[in-house]
Structure formats: structure tokens, C-alpha cells
């Protein structure tokens, strides 16, 4: 702490006149506002945490994530339970326990994109990099905040969806226990996959910088291209489909895959997905560091 005067005592209120000569002081360039600490990564993380929770889009996205993920799973299980029990659907009941993921992943994409593009859209990014010129740190802090929040939200949503959906499946005698193969893995996997997807969207946002364009690209790649790729002919077509981020990463979040879409083994697929997201993030960080803000 320093004894040098700070601005706080200056009578510079609007409308008040000019200062007296007594205010003239020599400033020590290394002085501090009382009580400041040397900022490190923890401070940047704290700043990003405050930013994350002080805009409405965060609550909206997370609310929607839960409503779509848990709500739709429950709803679809209720609707399909009888058919599933009768074996009319040709699908395993286990596949329906994370049905809502199909839509909740959209909100994870939106949240990840907005964490970056809302800053570009509003000019906030200039304030961000003036406060923290080490841009790699900014991205790292955003990634930590986003992954932690999406992981928790994803697991909570998946557990709620499982409890709701399985209640209806249980009534028809086709429910799954938590100890059954793949159930716990899928519940945790929901959190992991949504967190990864959020980072994927964040990287896309850093590269594209426009909300609408980045969202479109992210959703098109994960949903549209991911599904269309299954129409590609031959073995190589199947591999392309399997390796696309949404398909590779999604497997870990499902108790069992739906028929008709070949997927990699859950953890293999997730490994591929993480590698893809990491590569994209690396490119995004390198571009972000070089580019004018």
C-alpha cells in the first residue's frame, strides 16, 4: 500500500469547479490503489466469471438447456414407453434416455458462441483486451468458465432427464438401473460432450466473430453435416461421418446409439472429439493473438 494520494479525494464532481493548486502532487509511477494485488490468472478467471453471469443470455441458454435436455427426454420416454416395451420401434430403450441431447446441444453451441461473439458485436472485446492484453489468458479463462458451467449443467440435465424418462420406462418394465452398462458413463458424458461442444463453438466464434455466422457454421457442422455425412457412400464415407465432431463426441453422452448411425466407441469417439476441438481452439487462439481487436 502506498501513501500517495489517489483520485478518490479529488473534488471532480460534475458541476463543481476547478481544483486548487493544493491538489498538484507528484505521482509515483509504481504506486497502487490501496489494497491491490498483482493480478494473475485467478484475477482473469474471476473477471470472466463475473462477465459470464452478468448477461441475460447465460441464464436463458442454461434454462433452455435444462428444459430441452431433461424435458424432452422425459416427454419422449413417456410417449414411446409403450411401443418400446412392445418392441415396435426397433430401437433399444436405452437410446431414448438421452433423447433431449439432440436439442440441448444447440443451446451449448449458442452459449459457447455468445461468450465470444457478443463481445465482438458490442465492442466489449476492446475493453477485454485492454484489461488483459495477454490474449491467451483471456481465452483460457473463458474456456475454464465455459467448460465448468457446461459440464455441471450437462450432468444435472442428463440426470434429471434420466430420472424423468426412466420413470416412464420403468412403468413398462424396460427401465435401466444406474448400474446398468453405460448409464453412468452417459450421464457424465453429457456434461463432457456439452462442455466440449461449448469450447468448439467458442473457437468458431473467435475465428468468425459474428454471432449469426458463427452459430450457423457451428450448428450446420454438428447437426446438418453430421447427419448428411451418413449418406456418403462406402467405407470412407462412413469414416467421415464417424469422425465429424458431433458424431464422434456424441457417442459418450448416449447410453446406446440409435440404429442407422455408425459411431465410434464412446471413449474413442470422445478422444477424437477432444482432439478436434483442441486443434480448432489452437488455431483460434493463434489468430486471435495476431489480429487487431
Amino acid at each position: 500500500m502506498s501513501a500517495t494520494p489517489t483520485m478518490s479525494t479529488a473534488p471532480a464532481r460534475p458541476g463543481s469547479g476547478s481544483s486548487s493548486a493544493a491538489d498538484v502532487v507528484r505521482l509515483d509511477p509504481n504506486r497502487h490503489v490501496p489494497g491491490v494485488r498483482q493480478p494473475g490468472f485467478a484475477q482473469v478467471l474471476h473477471a470472466e466469471w463475473v462477465k459470464f453471469w452478468t448477461v441475460r443470455s447465460t441464464r436463458w441458454s442454461l434454462g433452455l438447456l435444462f428444459a430441452l435436455g431433461a424435458g424432452l427426454t422425459t416427454l419422449v420416454c413417456w410417449a414411446a414407453a409403450t411401443d418400446l416395451a412392445a418392441g415396435d420401434t426397433g430401437e433399444a430403450p436405452a437410446a431414448f434416455l438421452t433423447w433431449g441431447l439432440l436439442f440441448s446441444q444447440l443451446t451449448a453451441l449458442a452459449l459457447g458462441t455468445l461468450v465470444v461473439t457478443s463481445e465482438y458485436g458490442t465492442g466489449m472485446m476492446r475493453a477485454t483486451v485492454t484489461a488483459v492484453p495477454r490474449r491467451g489468458r483471456v481465452v483460457a479463462a473463458k474456456v475454464v468458465v465455459l467448460t465448468v458451467v457446461l459440464f455441471v449443467a450437462g450432468v444435472v440435465t442428463a440426470v434429471a432427464g434420466y430420472l424423468g424418462g426412466n420413470w416412464f420406462l420403468d412403468r413398462e418394465g424396460v427401465g435401466l438401473a444406474l448400474s446398468d452398462d453405460g448409464v453412468l458413463r452417459a450421464l457424465l458424458g453429457n456434461g463432457l460432450y456439452l462442455a466440449g461442444l461449448g469450447v468448439f463453438a467458442l473457437a468458431t466464434g473467435l475465428l468468425i466473430r459474428h454471432t449469426a455466422a458463427a452459430l450457423t457454421v457451428g450448428m450446420a457442422l454438428v447437426l446438418v453435416v453430421g447427419n448428411v455425412a451418413y449418406a456418403l457412400p462406402g467405407t470412407w464415407g462412413e469414416w467421415v461421418a464417424k469422425l465429424l465432431p458431433g458424431n464422434a463426441g456424441g457417442a459418450v453422452a448416449q447410453v446406446a446409439p440409435f440404429n442407422g448411425g455408425a459411431v465410434l466407441a464412446p471413449w474413442t469417439g470422445f478422444g477424437v472429439f477432444v482432439a478436434e476441438v483442441a486443434a480448432l481452439l489452437l488455431v483460434a487462439v493463434l489468430v486471435f493473438r495476431r489480429r487487431d481487436a
Binding site: R13, L27, P29, G35, R126, A131, R290, D292, A293
Partner: protein, 308 residues
């Protein structure tokens, strides 16, 4: 202290900032003046590490902005365009900024109070008027109690009372020994605020001098003379080596003051009907100075060629 050396920024074939070298010293308000598009904002963005110079360098307190461990405590900046999220409250905006640089939360109330926004601190800034937005921007700039303050067009959107407040604040900050750089495209504003002037046009340095020197050098003055024998008066004055322009029956004389000219004419027995010192305003001086830089721009092909 801000030091720029050969600072240059090009966007494709366009040179926004062209080899600017200047020093912004502590304890005074330095006005950064130039018409729109002169490269002021680009220069300020380079000072703050937002834009990367094409060549040259700029340092703040001896090192580049990005090398500062806690930049908000070293340089406070008001950016030209609003750099905030409209959905966030003023207090929350200051909260994350304070957090990022390890500034205690108590300082947030101090700066809100300082700029007079304490009553609307919880409101979302999207609802703020232009003037309130500027006040918040100044609160941001002062958050870290920085020894260097950079204000880009701070009076934009402010009412007369707000303009006076910013003017006094800038002078007060400089009076405390801080380095204060204020950009504007209004000479009249700078005339009341700045001790030192840096004038740019088309990215080039046009003047870097004290306000007093600027007035002497660029705000040209002349003595207007009217006389019934205007031709004789003109011949006499020219004969004494003075610089004389004739407009109909009016003479514009440079190089001597009115008393000397009057004595010269009186000594020769010439009646004088009018003898008046005409001082052009700083605004005119600025216009004249920057008009040259606009003329320079009428040959864009040359500029483009020089860059490639």
C-alpha cells in the same frame, strides 16, 4: 509518459498512421487533434495494444502496453466507440474490470461517485444516454487510478455542463502530475483544455508544439489598413519591406504591429481611416493546417504507390 517512434499502420494500400513520432509528457494535457480519419483513433488503439503497428513502436512508461502486468493501473483509457455490453449494469461492468486487474471493489463506488453515476449504477448500460455512456467510460479509465490517462473524443455526446466537467477533470488529472492525452477533432475544445498540441492529418504529423507556440506559428495575424490614398500607402509600406496584400481599398499588412505601421503612414503624411489588428482564430489556424493535409490526399495514387 507515452513515447511513439516511427509509428505506422497500414490497412492494405491505405496508410492510416504514417511514421508518427511524439512524446506525451506528464503534468500537462496533450491535445491530440486532427480531422476525422486523420488516424487519431488508430494511434490510440496502437498505444493500448489493440492494434499491432505495421512498423515503429509505442511505449507507455517505458514498455509496451501489453507488457504491463496490470495495465488498468498503469493506463486508463476511454475508447472512442462504446466498449461495453448493453445488457450489463454499470456496476457489473466495473466489477469485472476491477477483478481482472486486482483492483479492490471499494474503488468501484469511488469512481461511480466521481463521475456522478451512483444513482444509475444498477441500470443496464443499454439504456444509458450517450452522455451517461461517456461518463461510465471515464469511470472505467479512472478505475485503476492510473498515472497515464488516454481519452478518445471524451466530450462526444456530452451536454455543455458535461463538457466543462471533462475539461476540468483533464486539467485536474494533469495537475496531479499525470500524463493526459485527449483526442478531439474540435480545435475550439482543445484551445480550452490542452497545454500541448499534437496535430495530425492523413496520418501524418502536422504540428507538435505547445499551445502558445501553435498560436504564434499558425494563427496568423495581420493589420488591416484603410486609407483614402490606398495606392500611395501600399507603395510606402512595400518600400519599407513589409508584406502587403491589397484587396480593393483594403491593405493587409504583415511583419509589423499596428503602432509601427500607423507611425510609418503618419510620418509620410498619409491619412489613415482604419488601422486594426486582425487575429485569425485557432479554429481557422487548424483549418488552414489540415486543409493542406486534405490537399495532400487528392493524390491517392502516390500514397498507394509509396506504401507498396
Amino acid at each position: 509518459m507515452i513515447v511513439a517512434r516511427g509509428l505506422t499502420k497500414t490497412y492494405g494500400p491505405k496508410t492510416a498512421v504514417d511514421h508518427l513520432s511524439f512524446t506525451v509528457g506528464p503534468g500537462r494535457v496533450t491535445g491530440f487533434l486532427g480531422p476525422n480519419g486523420a488516424g487519431k483513433s488508430t494511434t490510440m488503439r496502437m498505444i493500448l495494444g489493440l492494434d499491432r503497428p505495421t512498423s515503429g513502436s509505442v511505449t507507455v512508461n517505458g514498455r509496451s502496453y501489453a507488457a504491463s502486468p496490470a495495465p488498468l493501473r498503469e493506463v486508463g483509457a476511454l475508447l472512442e466507440a462504446r466498449a461495453l455490453h448493453p445488457g450489463r449494469s454499470a456496476r457489473d461492468h466495473l466489477r469485472w474490470l476491477a477483478a481482472s486487474n486486482g483492483i479492490p471493489r471499494t474503488r468501484i463506488d469511488e469512481v461511480l461517485d466521481l463521475v456522478g453515476l451512483e444513482a444509475v449504477a444498477e441500470q443496464r448500460v443499454g439504456r444509458f444516454s450517450l452522455g451517461m455512456g461517456q461518463r461510465l467510460g471515464i469511470a472505467v479509465a479512472l478505475l485503476g487510478d492510473p498515472p497515464v490517462v488516454v481519452l478518445d473524443e471524451p466530450v462526444n455526446g456530452l451536454d455543455p455542463e458535461g463538457i466543462r466537467w471533462v475539461r476540468n477533470l483533464a486539467r485536474e488529472l494533469a495537475g496531479q502530475g499525470r500524463t493526459v492525452l485527449v483526442s478531439s477533432h474540435l480545435m475550439s475544445e482543445m484551445a480550452l483544455t490542452a497545454d500541448h498540441l499534437i496535430v495530425v492529418g492523413r496520418g501524418r504529423m502536422l504540428a507538435d508544439c505547445s499551445m502558445a507556440d501553435f498560436i504564434t506559428e499558425h494563427a496568423s495575424s495581420y493589420v488591416r489598413v484603410r486609407s483614402p490614398r490606398v495606392s500611395d500607402a501600399e507603395a510606402l509600406l512595400r518600400g519599407n519591406g513589409l508584406d502587403v496584400d491589397r484587396l480593393d481599398d483594403e491593405l493587409r499588412v504583415r511583419g509589423r504591429n499596428a503602432a509601427e505601421i500607423g507611425e510609418l503612414l503618419g510620418g509620410a503624411g498619409l491619412y489613415v481611416h482604419e488601422l486594426a489588428l486582425v487575429q485569425s482564430s485557432l479554429e481557422d489556424a487548424f483549418m488552414t493546417l489540415t486543409a493542406d493535409s486534405v490537399e495532400y490526399a487528392t493524390h491517392p495514387a502516390e500514397t498507394a504507390g509509396a506504401v507498396r
